[in-house]
């Protein structure tokens, strides 16, 4: 039986981070993962991450994954793939299945970073080929380059449902509708808004009645539900789709911890059955630590910080680190993690009905029910102002921990301040030069450059554009409003791409001046 100082189960963002931290302190560390490739779900995340610099904000998930793998390599972490840990026994002995064989390993400390699995809901026809998990869609399109379907209905408006809907659009699928039984959108408003402005309709308080088809999905019927989630007769709506994507949350995969005798709890705020652990991942069993989604559903940025915490705790536990050093390292990580756990979507706020922003501004109800901020709501937010000449318009209306736009602007036109969750505000004293770095830096694609009077009777609107084919300069088309409906005709006057923009292209369109604060997306005229 092979022995290690530390065995980490799971080579996702938290497991790799844990192994890097521990190996850096000299622990002989191995990571087992059941998958063919390391990185967990990071390599399917093609959007820019939120947060601040210390959280790797505005870097796309798969790039963070590549960096993590390089770091693990340099730290001398051994990663064993295609290796499923099937048991965690007394005295930290684990059983690993590789192919047709089973091997035993032993360590002095264990970190469980097994992540989460997708939840499912059942409805008539839910087992038909063509009904897939949102994770499956991401795997197919972002890892294997195969479209999950031609026309897709998304069930679930949490961040996964919203982000995957956008990714489906990016790879050339049509999204027929985004549906959620809840009365309000669960994910970030900015994620919803970037989907809504392309014309995808949102159906809140709706769910699936039936997936249609005999051998595979050929359509779907949804209907409205009442406050008790019962269907309201007569509200049925039919869509011709070949794929139904289900994004209804995640559950921690905590079975190994239960098996090891760790004290467990059912905690709905953490997504289900989780180990009881302290803020740095120590479970009730000395020497067994946890990190990432297995100890409570959050996201990859916090998982990476939790991983480092667990790695440090394990190092101290095994005597590879002094307590003072442990404390100062953990203090830093506490601060970083605390930054991510702020704002309207913080774990502490789950289930709470928030009606005002931290600034005391009534939140956009339309954003929560239809996916976009209504015209009569948008101008009450501090990022949305009118002025002469080109200026940034930040349609960022919910307090989320994110601030790259503030750093992106060299002219300091954008102000968030010390508190990372504050809404970005326009600094009227400074002059925008129209560089567009803020537009590209916004992970929520919520920043536009507007020149309300670029020439007599016309305005220009610059928007983030991450689709193919890229429109050409001079091309004529239509401008869409925040709701994805046509508002006026538009002409593309500039398309900017740059390595600094990291694949977020800046499309500038000319629209009649009256539509400067209405036009938010561009579509080529159908031939």
């Amino acid at each position: 039986m092979k022995r290690y100082d530390l065995i980490v189960v799971g080579a996702g963002p938290s497991g790799l981070s844990a192994a890097i931290a521990a190996a850096g302190k000299g622990l002989k560390t191995v990571v087992f993962d059941e998958n063919e490739r390391p990185g967990g779900q990071l390599f399917k995340q093609i959007h820019k991450f939120f947060g601040s610099k210390e959280h790797k904000a505005k870097i796309r998930g798969f790039v963070i994954g590549q960096e993590l793998l390089e770091e693990a390599d340099q730290a001398g972490v051994e990663v064993v793939l295609n290796a499923t840990v099937i048991g965690l026994y007394q005295d930290k002995e684990i059983v690993v299945r590789t192919g047709e064989t089973v091997h035993h390993y032993k360590a002095n400390a264990i970190i469980i970073a097994t992540g989460a699995s997708e939840n499912m809901v059942t409805f008539d026809g839910w087992t038909l080929p063509g009904v897939i998990g949102a994770g499956a869609a991401q795997t197919m399109m972002n890892l294997h380059g195969v479209r999950p379907g031609k026309r897709v209905l998304m069930l679930g408006s949490g961040n996964v449902g919203l982000v995957v809907s956008f990714q489906l659009l990016q790879c050339g699928c049509e999204v027929a509708a985004l549906v959620d039984a809840a009365p309000k959108i669960g994910g970030y408003g900015v994620h919803a808004a970037k989907v809504a402005r392309t014309g995808v309709p949102f159906y809140l308080s709706h769910t699936i009645v039936k997936a249609e088809g005999t051998d595979h999905v050929t359509g779907v019927t949804i209907a409205e539900v009442d406050a008790h989630f019962q269907f309201i007769p007569g509200t049925e709506k039919h869509f011709d789709v070949d794929t139904i994507c289900v994004a209804v949350g995640l559950s921690p995969m905590s079975q190994l911890l239960k098996m090891a005798g760790c004290q467990m709890e059912d905690n709905p705020k953490k997504g289900g059955q989780v180990p009881v652990c302290d803020e740095h991942g120590a479970t009730s069993v000395p020497g067994i630590f946890v990190a990432g989604d297995v100890s409570g559903i959050e996201e990859a940025s916090s998982a990476m910080i939790e991983g480092r915490m667990a790695g440090i705790r394990a190092s101290e536990y095994l005597g590879y680190m002094q307590q003072e050093e442990e404390k100062s390292s953990l203090d830093q990580l506490d601060h970083a993690l605390d930054g991510l756990r702020q704002g309207m979507f913080a774990p502490a706020n789950r289930g709470r009905n928030i009606t005002e922003t931290e600034e005391g501004i009534p939140i956009s109800e339309n954003l929560l029910t239809h996916g976009f901020v209504a015209e009569d709501e948008i101008e009450r937010f501090p990022g949305v102002t009118r002025s002469i000449g080109v200026h940034p318009v930040m349609e960022c209306t919910q307090n989320i921990p994110c601030n790259p736009c503030q750093d992106a602007c060299a002219r300091h036109c954008i102000r968030i301040g010390e508190k990372i969750t504050s809404l970005p505000a326009v600094n009227p004293e400074n002059t925008c030069i129209g560089c567009g770095l803020c537009v590209a830096s916004c992970s929520g694609q919520a920043i536009f450059l507007v020149n309300e009077q670029s020439e007599e009777g016309y305005a220009t609107v610059t928007l983030p554009y991450e689709f193919l084919p890229l429109p050409e300069k001079g091309e004529k088309g239509v401008a869409l409003g925040r709701d994805g409906q046509e508002v006026c005709s538009a002409q593309v006057v500039e398309v900017r791409t740059s390595p600094t923009f990291d694949k977020t292209n800046l499309l500038t369109m000319k629209v009649p001046a009256a539509f400067a604060m209405k036009a938010r997306f561009y579509r080529k005229k159908a031939q």
Partner: protein, 116 residues
């Protein structure tokens, strides 16, 4: 192969292995070496991977990460192979799985009757 994403706005060109041929229920199809069998089948428009043993209901890709076992098929004669996590190889024989066999339910029934 219209479900293949040739160029992606963020990922650019998707890197693939060598083009290989394989057999799905005897029919020659093409895919890329090393990609999951399920991805190759999906790209070729195959939706049904198996039929359940009791109710004979169709199943296809569901989780795509080897967890749900909905996508299992008979691969090179072995049943219950998770096609979403099994890399495609040149000349592989992939068959629709009926219950736990590549023989249709009718054939299985006839065989069963013979035994009796």
């Amino acid at each position: 192969m219209e479900s293949r994403i040739m160029e992606h706005p963020i990922l650019g060109e998707i890197k693939k292995g060598r083009k290989v041929s394989f057999y799905f229920d005897g029919k020659k199809l093409e895919g890329y070496e090393g990609e999951p069998i399920a991805a190759a089948l999906k790209a070729e428009g195959v939706m049904v991977h198996r039929y359940t043993s009791r109710k004979h209901l169709p199943r296809g890709i569901f989780c795509a990460i080897g967890r749900c076992t909905d996508c299992v098929m008979v691969v090179d004669g072995r049943p219950n192979i998770r096609t979403c996590v099994t890399p495609l190889k040149e000349g592989m024989k992939v068959q629709t799985q009926y219950g736990v066999s590549a023989a249709s339910f009718k054939e299985q029934e006839e065989k069963g009757n013979e035994k009796i």
